[in-house]
């Protein structure tokens, strides 16, 4: 039985951990809004512990599969949809590190938490860059890939790179700002940001082309549309965490001055947040279309509804620290309730999906 589980444990399972991990941050941000919501910090801690259990549990079959079933791994890597889910597990390291950075001090004290989050950062960076190169190589050399294969799951590799500077900036913010590790964190974060932003543009153009000039994907891929909300949301998070890191470095980090950067960051972050909000409406319009066509069956890919939306909630919470605080605080609480509801629905549907035995019938 265990061997069968390992064989069918596809790369997409990282999305479950991602969708759960980000909730600990949305809860933590919501807890800051008003005294009445401060208990959400502890619910966030609950999500952090659940994420840790999930990460350890899923990491075992996910890793063993590379050694026990390399032919399955190769097949998945070459798949135009499933292949893009490989970076989800390294993303989980970055998210676990971010959760450890924010909530770990409450469990282990600051020293241990900040060191542990650096371990997660390095593991995540290695995994994300490795899969990033592997997937680019596979896509460039694969002669079978066509226009009509483009879909929003292709955003996952750029998103994986974009998420690196989130933890990089969080780490520079409180503990590592004036240490010899700060330049290393900064350089790795900036490289990843460059890779993520430019790949987001390139891949985005390919997907846009497909959506306009060929049919939109069938209902099984409907949920991947939500991934489109993630890149700009994560860039908002990076910008604001980075400005907080500069502030923590007494107003100047590597000669980058807080006072001169804060105003442009507020404008750029608001503009990008606006795009994410607009994209949320686009998702609702497309979702309405799929539901109207009765083409929106539950598939494991529904987990794509969780993390990207949660990233948008985190972006909303952080933007509230800079602009339109009262308005965005209201949105933060509303959206946080929504993402919890979405997560609960997806958990129930996943258990039902597992009950049906679909786990052992992977669709290539």
């Amino acid at each position: 039985m265990f061997k069968k589980i390992v064989k069918n444990f596809g790369p997409e399972w990282g999305a479950v951990v991602m969708g759960t991990a980000a909730l600990c941050i949305t809860m933590q941000l919501s807890s800051e809004v008003a005294r009445g919501f401060s208990s959400l910090l502890y619910v966030g801690l609950g999500f952090y512990l659940l994420t840790t259990v999930m990460l350890i549990t899923f990491l075992i079959p996910w890793t063993l599969r590379f050694f026990m079933y390399p032919e399955e791994i190769k097949k998945d890597l070459e798949h135009p949809i499933r292949g893009n889910f490989f970076p989800t597990m390294p993303i989980c390291f970055i998210l676990a590190g971010t959760g450890t950075n924010k909530l770990g001090p409450m469990l282990f004290g600051p020293w241990f938490a900040y060191h542990l989050s650096i371990v997660f950062f390095l593991l995540g960076v290695i995994g994300i860059f490795t899969f990033g190169f592997l997937l680019v190589r596979t896509q460039f050399l694969n002669k079978e890939i066509r226009h009509e294969h483009a879909n929003f799951s292709w955003f996952i590799p750029p998103v994986s790179h974009l998420i690196i500077p989130v933890l990089g900036a969080c780490s520079m913010d409180v503990y590592w700002a004036e240490t010899s590790l700060a330049p290393v964190l900064f350089i790795i974060s900036m490289i990843a940001l460059g890779v993520g932003v430019l790949n987001f543009f390139f891949v985005g153009a390919a997907i846009w082309h497909r959506y306009i000039y060929t049919d939109i994907p069938n209902g099984k891929l409907a949920s991947t549309t939500m991934v489109g909300i993630a890149p700009t949301s994560i860039i908002v998070i990076v910008l604001i965490k980075f400005i907080q890191a500069i502030e923590a470095s007494h107003g100047s980090l590597f000669g980058i001055n807080f006072m001169s950067l804060f105003s442009p960051v507020k404008i750029i972050a608001s503009v990008l947040w606006g795009f994410s909000f607009w994209w949320l409406v686009v998702v609702i319009i497309l979702l309405h279309n799929y539901i109207k066509m009765k083409d929106h069956p539950f598939v494991f890919g529904w987990w794509a509804y969780t993390f990207p939306l949660e990233a948008f909630v985190v972006a909303t919470g952080l933007l509230a620290k800079c602009v339109a605080t009262s308005f965005l605080h209201g949105m933060l609480i509303t959206l946080n309730t929504l993402v919890v509801a979405v997560w609960i629905v997806v958990v129930f549907r996943t258990i039902k999906w597992l009950e049906s035995g679909a786990f052992f019938k992977p669709q290539h």
């Binding site: 004036e178 400005i243 804060f262 800079c322």
Partner: protein, 196 residues
């Protein structure tokens, strides 16, 4: 869905909320000790500093104890800065805080620890911590900001720089006397404003 599947799904979705509730109740009931001694409150003797129409007072807890769930208790320095705008117009503040022990290594405030202890401080002092990076202060309005620094056990003295003005910092000095911490002076320190 089978009953067994419903139970599994319920167990997963309820776990974070049950853990959260238990931890919240445990903290609230005082089973996890959190205590602190007030060392300085400059509001009492009008000891704060005013510059360009902004008055800064502070309350200092020299040994705010915080116990992480799985680790031993640690003590932190906690400052609550109280800003009053005595100008006729609104101002926008963007404060930053630096802790400097002997040797001049500079440490920034620990926002995470502040987050965990702010409920207790807000209740004790009846203040409301500001969460935005910048906040507006209307004429005659008072706003509060909680700042936490990690505390080294061998420390004998330190100062804290409060940066809210463009041209000067407020520097607050403390030294250890017996088991307590004494505030002994504060001063305005000119800041370098140049192109370097």
């Amino acid at each position: 869905m089978k009953v067994r599947s419903i139970i599994i799904a319920l167990a997963i979705v309820l776990t974070p909320f049950i853990i959260g509730m238990l931890l919240f109740l445990a903290r609230g009931s005082g089973r996890i000790p959190v205590k602190a001694h007030l060392s300085t409150d400059t509001r009492r003797n009008n000891e704060g500093m005013a510059y360009k129409g902004i008055e800064v007072n502070w309350t200092f807890y020299s040994d705010w104890k915080y116990k992480p769930l799985f680790f031993h208790v640690d003590e932190y320095f906690v400052f609550v800065f109280h800003y009053t705008n005595s100008n006729a117009h609104d101002v926008v503040l963007m404060p930053s805080y630096t802790f400097v022990p002997p040797g001049n290594k500079r440490y920034s405030a620990n926002e995470e620890i502040s987050m965990y202890i702010e409920d207790g401080i807000e209740r004790t002092l009846n203040v409301n911590d500001q969460t935005p990076i910048t906040f507006k202060l209307s004429s005659n309005e008072v706003k509060d900001y909680i700042v936490t620094f990690e505390k080294s056990p061998k420390l004998k003295q330190f100062y804290v720089d409060v940066d809210i003005w463009k041209d000067v910092s407020l520097r607050i000095y403390y030294r250890k006397i017996d088991d307590g911490w004494e505030y002994y002076k504060s001063e305005r320190v000119n800041k370098y404003i140049g192109r370097g």
